[in-house]
């Protein structure tokens, strides 16, 4: 789980109940980076929307759980920006389904995002690390 404690700085005590960070509360850039990362680590033909959410949940050990309804705005924005490509599949006996795969632009964006987030968390933990221990 991706947990973070909220220290009481004045008393230097750990809270009894550590709070879980909800993925819905993270910024949109973070959602996009996570989706791009799951697609980068998946098969070349990509994932269906529902599978993407399940993969993300599994990879994060259940910590990052997307409501599927909130996933579509992120997917459609990424598709519109050309970072992922949506492809419709029409298999016999099955409903038409849309599958998403990573584009070259998406791969570049993911590399930029990874560097940016690493830099951000380096500084973040440099500030709160001492207090959190």
């Amino acid at each position: 789980m991706y947990n973070i404690s909220e220290p009481d700085i004045s008393k230097r005590e750990m809270p009894a109940q550590p709070k879980t960070i909800e993925i819905q509360n993270l910024p949109r850039e973070c959602h996009q980076a996570l989706i791009l990362a799951v697609l980068a680590g998946g098969p070349t033909q990509g994932f269906h929307g529902y599978r993407l959410a399940l993969e993300l949940e599994q990879k994060s050990g259940g910590a990052f759980r997307f409501n599927h309804g909130t996933l579509y705005p992120i997917l459609h924005k990424l598709e519109q920006d050309g970072q992922i490509a949506g492809d419709w599949l029409d298999e016999p006996g099955k409903r038409k389904r849309k599958r998403y795969s990573l584009t070259e632009a998406g791969r570049r964006r993911l590399a930029e995002q990874a560097t940016a987030w690493l830099g951000f968390f380096d500084r973040f933990f440099a500030v709160i690390g001492e207090v959190g221990r």
Partner: protein, 246 residues
């Protein structure tokens, strides 16, 4: 009957988007809902519980749906807005009449000898574009009505080509106009005064034939695109209607 009609109806009600875009979103959600339901079944849940969990996972907040609508509003679903499916018989009849008139005009222009009395070299690329428009239009109609290929996503994939051909036709005409204008200006500048009227006549004949073919090709391409886009939107809407039926 669709077991997830309730969720999809709610999305359909809340999403403020043109019907073709909304239908595509509903189709995508329906596919994912069904897959998630099957995934839960494979985990050993009974049908009712699997359906409940799948529905629960897909309940989108109004805010998420508003964001989705904003993305499609900003993101160039202008084509869908333009091709809101024609509803009444009158609208359809008018469109067919208009298309037939444009095709007849193009045919008449292309076979009229006087039009090519002074032939601009730009007429040839325009003729090629017109043939490409007709070929693409006929191919799509063949897929729709003869082969009965109802995979609308693939049918839709070539449609933007028609708009590209329309734009290309206008571009070629504009380039041709400037080329001939420049030619006329040089000839007038260098030529004797008595030849000016003849040159003007040559110039106007060349650019008028080119402009007629260029504009008709552009109108034809836009019309064929409009008709096909409406036919395909109709299929998508019927698919979405089937999903929403209880």
């Amino acid at each position: 009957m669709n077991r997830f009609a309730g969720v999809l109806k709610e999305v359909n009600r809340t999403l403020d988007l043109p019907q073709p875009t909304r239908s595509r979103i509903l189709l995508e959600m329906a596919g994912d809902l069904e897959d998630l339901y099957r995934h839960h079944l494979s985990e050993g849940l009974d049908e009712a519980e699997a359906a409940r969990r799948a529905e629960e996972a897909f309940v989108a907040s109004e805010e998420a749906l508003r964001r989705l609508a904003r993305i499609h509003e900003k993101g160039g679903d202008w084509a869908d807005r333009l091709t809101r499916q024609l509803r009444t018989l009158w609208e359809k009849a008018l469109l067919v009449l208009w298309l037939v008139a444009v095709i007849l005009l193009v045919g008449k222009a292309a076979t009229e000898e006087r039009l090519f009395l002074v032939r601009s070299p730009f007429v040839w690329p325009l003729m090629i574009l017109a043939v490409a428009v007709l070929a693409l239009g006929v191919w799509k109609l063949y897929q729709l009505f003869v082969k009965k290929r109802l995979d609308v996503r693939r049918l839709r994939s070539g449609l933007s080509g028609l708009l590209f051909l329309a734009a290309a036709s206008l571009m070629v005409s504009a380039c041709g106009f400037l080329y001939h204008l420049r030619w006329y200006a040089f000839q007038t500048f260098e030529g004797a005064p008595e030849t000016v009227f003849r040159m003007f006549g040559t110039w106007t004949l060349a650019i008028s034939s080119m402009a007629i073919i260029g504009l008709l090709t552009a109108v034809l391409a836009a019309m064929v695109w409009f008709v096909l886009a409406n036919l395909i939107a109709g299929i998508e809407n019927r698919e979405a209607d089937a999903l929403l039926a209880n």
